[in-house]
């Protein structure tokens, strides 16, 4: 029997109620859409979007006599994910039917893996911001079909059904209840997303619903070992909502327990507008899904050689990447973590850093670029500044064409126009002035105009900064700061 309760919350993670301190226990069931051209059991396209019911085969529509045939690529993706999660790949697994009636489920059952999932136990190391790393154990990963979509808001009296998603392959990744705060849960979810994206097994696109989580929350008095009754919050599709939902739900449960009540085991929904969770269905309404092995499908028996072939083709994963970034580029653990967590960010960073100063590249990517993208609400993939262009900007700094300050202005213009840095520097005449004669002339003019300040700086060395600022301003910011410093010191006699 697996030990479920392997850790206690740190003191700073405890939540204070009216009467006592409480520990939050969180486990996640993450649904990740498998990156694949076709659906799990039919040849229909799994592409997102498309006109309603444009991607529907006879199998998806549950026409009489139609049969499922497993998509081998989806199985490969599940194995790849299992290997990426350091998990046990089950040599024999099988598919079960989960029976219930709903218009967006044409067969009247979902094909899932209930008793024998394709992937067993694994683990993920998670490092929440500014906290020590924790281990989150994976209980299992199984393959299942997505349902279609019921559309209730097109007509007051009718519900429309779009089966484009029906039959699309999902991986359900179930964690152990190993998280002790909303922050840990969010960090785990992000880590998982990073791993899946690096593996190429799920695009992690939350807006398109490619990744969503059912969040299990319970609370118990600090220092006690007995589990509380949990509630499951369905279909949370962002880490921000996940954190809000966990915090709200924990508070709700604590209030009930402190006032002498009991928690009902139930399924709840998070309402992002109100920031609260509410009952979706109680335990009494729970379906009896009548799971049984799908007789249309044979057990899934995996060939050892195939698993090894997939293992050999695994890309570098975030943890290994992070270590390499520290080793190879001399980054801080924090910067390395930020840049290795997402495969797009890592690729971008390495393109910029190639043949350049790694630390400078890391600073530009994680500070300037991410800051600017954040402000514009853009994904990295939509950045107007491509990695090659940012690299070229760094080259201009390195070879002294522009100084660091001007570089920030050039970068801002690159974000606006998408133009190459060299083009912007030439167009705007931003080339750094290293001509000492020109700088000397500008400084001479400054000294002549400010005799009082000359005396000032001799008494008060702190006033030197004023002179530097004025000199830079006089040269349009283009002067080489080192040269300015040197000439000023000489001329002012400080």
């Amino acid at each position: 029997m697996t030990e479920l309760d392997v850790r206690s919350a740190r003191a700073d993670q405890l939540v204070a109620g009216q009467k006592s301190q409480w520990e939050i226990i969180v486990g996640l069931e993450v649904h990740a859409q498998v990156t694949s051209q076709a659906k799990l059991f039919s040849g229909a396209s799994a592409a997102y979007g498309g006109a309603p019911n444009a991607h529907v085969s006879l199998v998806d529509a549950a026409m009489p006599g139609m049969l499922p045939v497993i998509n081998k690529y989806c199985v490969e993706q599940a194995i790849r994910t299992g290997l990426g999660l350091n998990a046990e790949i089950q040599r024999v697994s099988r598919f079960d039917r989960k029976n219930y009636f709903y218009p967006d489920l044409p067969q009247g059952y979902q094909i899932s893996q209930y008793k024998s999932p394709i992937v067993g136990e694994g683990e993920v190391e998670v490092e929440p911001d500014g906290e020590d790393a924790i281990i989150v154990r994976i209980e299992r990963l199984h393959l299942e079909q997505d349902a279609g979509k019921s559309i209730h808001d097109l007509s007051p009296n009718e519900t429309f059904v779009d089966l484009n998603r029906a039959g699309v392959a999902l991986m359900e990744i179930v964690s152990r209840p190993d998280m002790r705060s909303a922050k840990e849960a969010a960090a785990y979810f992000n880590k998982l997303r990073g791993i899946l994206r690096a593996l190429g097994t799920c695009d992690g696109n939350m807006e398109e619903g490619s990744m969503r989580a059912d969040v299990n929350v319970s609370v118990r008095r600090a220092g006690t070992r007995e589990w509380g009754t949990r509630c499951e919050i369905k279909n949370v599709n962002s880490t921000r909502f996940m954190m809000q939902a966990i915090e709200y739900e924990a508070r709700r449960q604590i209030e009930i327990l402190e006032s002498g009540g009991a928690i009902d085991q139930e399924t709840r929904l998070f309402d992002p507008d109100k920031g609260e969770t509410r009952t979706m269905r109680s335990k009494e309404d729970a379906h009896d899904y009548r799971y049984f092995p799908d007789p249309d499908l044979l057990p899934l028996v995996l060939d050892e050689a195939w698993i090894e072939q997939i293992r050999a083709s695994l890309p570098e994963l975030p943890d290994a990447k992070k270590k390499r970034f520290v080793r190879e580029y001399g980054l801080s653990a924090y910067d390395a973590g930020v840049l290795s967590g997402d495969s797009d960010a890592a690729t971008y960073f390495e393109t910029v850093a190639k043949g350049r100063d790694g630390k400078a590249a890391a600073n530009w990517v994680s500070q300037e670029l991410f800051g600017a993208l954040n402000k514009k609400g853009l994904e990295l993939s939509a950045s107007p500044v491509k990695a090659e262009a940012l690299g070229a900007l760094l080259d201009l700094i390195k070879d002294g064409t522009i100084n660091g300050k001007i570089a920030k202005d050039v970068f801002a213009k690159m974000m606006e126009t998408g133009d190459a840095p060299g083009v912007i520097v030439e167009r705007e005449g931003l080339r750094q002035v290293t001509d000492t004669g020109a700088i000397e002339r500008a400084i001479d003019a400054l000294i002549a105009a400010n005799p009082d300040k000359v005396d000032d700086v001799k008494k008060n060395p702190k006033a030197f900064g004023w002179w530097v600022g004025q000199a830079m301003k006089a040269t349009g910011g283009k002067a080489n700061p080192a040269v300015v410093n040197e000439i000023l010191k000489k001329k002012l006699g400080v």
């Binding site: 529509a61 006599g65 049969l67 009636f101 044409p106 009548r290 007789p295 044979l298």
Partner: protein
């Protein structure tokens, strides 16, 4: 002129090959016979006369060009469980309404590939659930056979009653059928025809309306063992669209029919000697054993000790799968819908009106045995017993090459005679369900008539994938039995 409809499939193909008659002629003969007989027998629920004539003409043209397939020009009947492109397919259930598939089942597509053509769709028990063809939405099929001089209407058996009746009454050269617990073999035995359920996975289930997926198998009903071998040859074969379809290649079944059985060992299972079995059936079985001996086979008593649990096991496994397979008939996307005040009411009314009583009974049984708290006691236990039944056979087949049993515990009964008692009805399948549970090939062939003049059959069960031995033993028995009685054509 000879009556073309009375020919066997083999002789009809031979006749066309030798240009004694054309596919158009024999097709017309069948269409004329159907027109006369069908109002009395109710074997066909759709007659596709025009398509059949056009197909026959095209077939004759192919033959003239030397492009004849193995079944070129052979007019067949197709059980309504098979989806047929552009031709209504209802599984004889109201819930499918006027459903007309846009696709062709693999098995029928294989037949058309080999030159055969369709006369129409054949009546059956609703969703293949029944042993007397009385649960069809189109009404029962009447057997061409009668007891002595009585004119009481008899059942042709079920669920493939239309297929059996049509073949027995010369309304097609052969028919497709399906067998989940005996639905090919029991009607064949009741009507003096031959029916084989091949090894599970031999015939693709793609495009066949599902009843119980782990048990359903398609097979032919024909006039002779050789005809069955020929039809199965075309129907069977690996199909990547069915995950349970077997990749194994097909041996030549027709050649297997001529294989001598001298030196083979035939097993006789003691457990098939059930209480209350009519003496005539006992005698018939004993006669079969004698014929096998005369043909040079050795006889060995064997024990299939879990046989008595087969029927209860079947009536857990089959309804469980059916309850899930039939969930798709919800009145939403095709078939008949009865609108209710809301979604749940629409589901309830569509299904309450769309499904007949027997189908509803099995959905209820299936839902019950899969329910939380009952699953282990019923479904899981039944799966374990199913394993034991399969092991019994595996053990027995270490010592024997084929097993000989009676096909049914009685001759055909009258319509209405047993429809009030489901358990009595289920007992019809007592000798046949074991082959479904174990996935083995089983063939029923007629060997005699009883005192009232009704046909009685024997069953030959073989190892998985060894239809060849089943055909060889069956052909030897057929040869010895010289069964040639035909029902009187009282409807003409």
């Amino acid at each position: 002129m000879t009556d073309l409809t009375a020919l066997t499939l083999a002789s009809a193909l031979d006749g066309m090959e030798k240009k004694r008659f054309s596919s158009a002629e024999i097709t017309d003969a069948f269409l004329a016979a159907i027109e006369k007989a069908n109002p009395h027998l109710n074997a066909y629920v759709v007659v596709t006369a025009e398509q059949a004539r056009a197909a026959a003409k095209a077939s004759d043209a192919r033959r003239a060009k030397g492009q004849a397939g193995p079944l070129e020009g052979a007019p067949l009947g197709i059980k309504d469980l098979f989806c047929t492109e552009g031709v209504r397919a209802t599984a004889c259930s109201n819930i499918l309404g006027e459903f007309t598939p846009t696709y062709e089942s693999t098995v029928t597509a294989n037949l058309w590939r080999d030159g055969a053509l369709m006369l129409g769709k054949l009546n059956m028990d609703e969703f293949a659930m029944g042993s007397s063809n009385e649960t069809s939405r189109f009404g029962p099929v009447v057997s061409p056979w009668r007891r002595g001089n009585e004119d009481a209407k008899l059942t042709p058996g079920g669920s493939s009653g239309g297929s059996a009746s049509a073949v027995a009454a010369d309304l097609c050269l052969g028919a497709t059928a399906t067998d989940t617990g005996g639905s090919i073999r029991q009607p064949a035995a009741f009507t003096g025809t031959v029916g084989i359920k091949p090894t599970y996975g031999r015939c693709s289930r793609w495009g066949i309306v599902a009843f119980a997926s782990s048990l359903d198998q398609a097979g032919p009903i024909t006039k002779t063992v050789e005809d069955a071998a020929m039809l199965l040859q075309s129907m069977a074969g690996h199909d990547p669209k069915d995950s349970t379809s077997l990749p194994d290649g097909l041996p030549d079944f027709r050649t297997a029919c001529a294989k001598p059985i001298k030196g083979m060992t035939i097993g006789i299972p003691e457990e098939y000697r059930v209480d209350g079995m009519p003496a005539e059936i006992e005698a018939l079985w004993a006669q079969g054993i004698e014929w096998a001996k005369e043909a040079g086979a050795k006889i060995k008593k064997i024990s299939l000790k879990h046989t008595k649990y087969a029927l209860p096991t079947y009536y857990i496994v089959a309804p469980a799968e059916a309850s899930s397979n039939l969930a798709r008939y919800d009145g939403m996307r095709y078939g008949a819908r009865v609108a209710g005040k809301d979604l749940v009411a629409t589901y309830e009314q569509s299904r309450a009106r769309g499904f007949g009583a027997e189908v509803q009974r099995r959905i209820l049984i299936g839902t019950y045995v899969l329910s939380a708290g009952y699953y282990d006691a019923y479904y899981l236990r039944a799966q374990k017993v199913r394993q034991r039944i399969a092991e019994d056979f595996r053990e027995a087949f270490k010592d024997v090459d084929a097993i000989l049993t009676p096909a049914t515990p009685s001759a055909a009964f009258a319509l209405g005679e047993r429809s009030g008692d489901p358990v009595q009805m289920y007992l019809n399948d007592i000798f046949t369900v074991t082959a479904n549970l174990a996935g083995l090939p089983g063939l029923a062939l007629p060997v005699a008539v009883d005192a009232q003049g009704l046909p009685l059959g024997l069953q030959v069960i073989g190892r998985a994938l060894d239809e060849e031995t089943v055909f060889a033993v069956s052909a030897a028995l057929e040869k010895a039995a010289k069964f040639s009685t035909k029902p009187a054509r009282w409807w003409t």
